[in-house]
Subunit: 211 residues, 2 copies
DNA sequence: AAGTGTGAAGTATTTCACAGCG
DNA sequence: CGCTGTGAAATACTTCACACTT
């Protein structure tokens, strides 16, 4: 089982390597990928070992081979179908962002309460009413969900998703979801992120503990 | 210097405690806050020690006092003025989300290239053209920036922000920013987050290493 | 009896540093 | 020689477990 941090870096490496490949490069050294991704060379080499990607002392790593190794670790064998719940600004941003980005991922359905949004197609994704959630995700065989509703609704939505058979959730809400074991949850908390920036930015006016 | 993970948890505790207080509770035990935030009680107690928040064996922790202790750690003494660059769906989501949420944070200016957006006020925040970025952030004394532009522009925008005097950046782009020492960057990578969910969700069809 | 505060132990993750190879 | 692959050291973070308080 590969640790979470490592998976995050592999995902980033892959996107960088896609670009590197577009630029026509076929080999890259660990210190180069380290610079491009903001890591140390030793870290990059360890990560590549984890996905069994062999390097060559004289030429470095074969870019296509790296991408293949990362693919075979990160991607499941089948295309993953994802449901998005909450078609507000954030939801639309997520849909738009992924439009045709990763071939193995597909937003197969979106849900909202707002009747002005229901039955429209937004960024290539059909929007259903939340009341249809259970039926649609079962029918469409959806196993992954993204929650972009207001905080107050998150718990309820998570329950609906899990009840419909979803096994993995990306939750943009700060609400800690109570989900049964076996369901994986990843949280993105935008407020925390901004507050981290505020704290760690030395604005020269905070009494930070000296050493 | 408090570690990043701890700051993230404190930010979350504070939001939970705001709610707890609204419900009229005045005291809370570490195991209760642990449950509400998805942590272990010992972790919560350590975190509260870090911000010098005293507890009482019989009643637990005084909610108002906890909030005060967290405030004095997370918030700077002054209101923080923030610039947002990129008024697309994601940018609007961030602006909307923070509208009147935290008294010590204010989105003082937004920037975009699109002339249809420039000079409008979106979610309480005036939108300027990107060409005005340098002047405006200097004039408005902005020290923090949020980047919600497409990846390809992120590096350029980061340079502009830093040049204008910004010392802390929240970057929603997967582009690793090359910034001078002394400037803090926090990244939120939505693609990585989804790929983590895909990987860690046991979809029963992946050949995961046993052990 | 039940909860806090915390030294010490346990885990996880990163980095060093160097043998080995092309 | 410069780079990869990797044991071993270093660091960071979490959890245990228990003395102490109410």
């Amino acid at each position: 089982m590969i640790p979470e941090r490592t998976i995050g870096r592999l995902s980033l490496y892959r996107r960088i390597l896609d670009q590197v490949l577009d630029q026509g490069r076929t080999y890259i050294f660990s210190h180069e990928l380290a610079k491009l991704s903001g890591n140390k060379p030793a870290q990059v080499r360890r990560d590549l070992n984890v996905v069994k990607c062999p390097g060559c002392a004289s030429k470095g790593y074969d870019v296509q081979e790296m991408i293949r190794c990362i693919d075979s670790t990160l991607d499941g064998p089948d295309k993953q179908r994802i449901a998005l719940v909450g078609v507000g600004n954030l939801g639309r941003a997520v849909l738009h962002y992924f439009l045709g980005r990763r071939k193995k991922l597909e937003f197969a359905a979106a849900f909202d309460r707002d009747h002005d949004k229901v039955n429209r197609v937004i960024h290539g994704c059909r929007v259903y009413h939340i009341d249809e959630l259970n039926d649609v995700i079962r029918k469409e065989n959806i196993r992954l969900g993204v929650i972009t509703v207001p905080v107050s609704e998150a718990g309820h939505i998570a329950d609906l998703l899990v009840h419909g058979g979803v096994r993995g959730i990306l939750n943009f809400t700060p609400a800690p979801l109570r989900i049964p074991p076996g369901v994986y949850v990843e949280n993105i908390d935008i407020t925390s992120a901004i507050e981290k920036v505020v704290y760690f930015t030395d604005l020269g006016n905070r009494e930070k503990e000296k050493e």
